[in-house]
């Protein structure tokens, strides 16, 4: 299989604090990759460098051979990188289906159309995307009225609108019920399996990670400390020490001491 994404020597520091240190990894076509680690390990910083919100100090990122670094987020989006947010970001004054339509309008380069009725454009495609995430019944609801889990699913539909090659999901299941979590990630896995899109996600719920991720990367203090399948990571002593822990916060603490 070919590599969709190649990350080389990625580093970033904020005012002397090294947030990400020399991170390297590849993502294969159709892969479902989890990025885990304690709070402040540099996961979100990594993500923000991949999608153009932050400029790394050093390193390169290439998507299907195109260099991503140095382009603004919107250009990177057009090159085929979609994203969902840790804290949901949607157009709250629009309906669910309108949110998806906006992404389609942008994808089809119609944002400067001054005359068409926006709500009548790409309705079928938008509904198909909503169906993919089982949100079609709520298409006409105001986005501001949605439950948190539904917003997350809506974000997934929006992120898929431009048929991205790479989807970045920042804590996609935070704040969802366990059954919903597994369902959302099963849904995502299904979409990945259909082909065309590869996923990198960060997550704190290890059930979700171990159930769905094809491969797991572990970050700690900005460094990649382990990489492997679920069972490899679960039994890795270093990962247990810094992140998974033996069960209690205090045991983790005494392991440090």
């Amino acid at each position: 299989m070919t590599n969709v994404l190649e990350v080389r020597n990625l580093s970033k520091s904020f005012g002397g604090v090294q947030a990400v240190k020399d991170v390297n990894f590849d993502l294969k076509e159709g892969e479902f990759l989890a990025l885990i680690g304690p709070n402040g390990a540099g996961k979100t910083t990594c993500f923000n460098m991949l999608n153009g919100y932050l400029k790394p100090n050093t390193g390169s990122v290439s998507l299907r051979g195109q260099a991503l670094i140095g382009h603004p987020p919107r250009k990177i989006w057009r090159m085929g990188v979609g994203r969902t947010f840790q804290i949901t970001a949607t157009f709250l004054s629009m309906t669910v289906v309108e949110n998806v339509q906006m992404a389609l309008i942008s994808y089809h380069r119609r944002v400067f159309d001054l005359f068409s009725r926006a709500t009548r454009m790409y309705v079928d495609e938008a509904m198909a995307l909503l169906e993919l995430v089982s949100m079609q019944d709520q298409a006409g609801r105001a986005c501001s009225e949605l439950a948190y889990g539904d917003l997350k699913r809506l974000e997934l539909a929006i992120a898929l609108a431009h048929e991205p090659a790479l989807l970045l999901m920042d804590e996609p299941t935070a704040g969802m019920a366990p059954s919903e979590r597994l369902a959302l990630m099963a849904l995502t896995a299904e979409i990945v399996a259909k082909g065309g899109v590869s996923v990198v996600f960060t997550e704190h719920d290890m059930d979700v990670v171990f159930a769905h991720a094809h491969r797991i990367l572990v970050l700690n203090r900005g460094e990649l400390i382990a990489e492997g399948t679920g069972s490899e990571i679960r039994t890795n002593p270093l990962v247990q020490e810094v992140y998974l822990g033996g069960g209690s916060v205090f045991e983790a603490e005494s392991a440090h001491a």
Binding site: A142, S144, L146, A174, P178, G247, V249, F250, H256
Partner: protein, 233 residues
């Protein structure tokens, strides 16, 4: 001492809480558990009068306080420690404490700056530093100290262990134990079952704005499916 019945809360048109009931007894530490977005913080804010649209009743210190302003509720002896700390970054540690200072009350222990600096020695060393110069753990200590300056009888502690180093989490557990020893009541919101078990007497579990469990940790251990379903373990 605190008795919440059927609390509902709205942000705009979205209903966040739906009939939440809970209670905290005299000198008791109670954990309110649940995941991100379950409604823990909203419950805390609603009790404190920080959510504008609520219904239900909140009884505290023998009176109904729903609809009261936050400052009136605070003056009845309720202290609130927000989850995002909300330190006044441009004020020094001493000034942050000064903002929280209130007259002593007969029914609650009295805290002074010096007493608090003993409890939080890191803060004492940096008393002239600005809030924004502190580390996350120090800010967490400062936000608790600031609330204690109001000499509360009941402290609402929103996610005290979130996003701080394990060594500070341990210190936090000691502080909560100290508060209980001083005779305070504490309602903490927490995602971490292990931490909650260590510091508190009883637990409530909230999910999607509704209460799903109430009881002791022994009860919770007997029904592992509850914590598996509602908590991110």
């Amino acid at each position: 001492m605190l008795d919440v019945k059927n609390l509902g809360a709205w942000y705009g048109r979205a209903q966040i809480l739906n009939g939440v009931s809970l209670s905290v007894g005299e000198n008791e530490v109670v954990a309110l558990m649940g995941r991100n977005g379950a409604g823990k913080s909203t419950t805390m804010k609603s009790i404190m009068g920080l959510v504008r649209h609520i219904n239900g009743t909140i009884r505290y210190a023998e009176r109904e306080v729903q609809g009261n302003t936050p400052h009136a509720i605070c003056r009845l002896g309720m202290g609130y420690v927000p989850e995002d700390r909300r330190i006044f970054g441009d004020l020094t540690i001493e000034e942050n404490l000064e903002v929280g200072r209130r007259e002593p009350r007969p029914d609650a222990p009295e805290w002074t700056q010096e007493h608090l600096f003993e409890l939080f020695p890191n803060l004492a060393e940096r008393r002239k530093n600005l809030g924004k110069q502190l580390s996350g753990g120090e800010q967490q200590m400062l936000t608790i100290a600031r609330t204690l300056m109001g000499n509360p009888k009941l402290v609402l502690l929103d996610e005290p262990s979130e996003g701080i180093a394990p060594v500070i989490v341990e210190q936090m557990a000691r502080v909560i134990a100290e508060l209980k020893r001083e005779g305070l009541s504490v309602l903490i919101s927490e995602q971490n079952l292990h931490f909650a078990r260590i510091v508190s007497d009883r637990a409530f579990i909230i999910e999607k704005g509704e209460m799903r469990f109430e009881g002791s940790f022994a009860d919770l251990d007997e029904n592992p499916e509850i914590s598996n379903t509602y908590l991110a373990v």
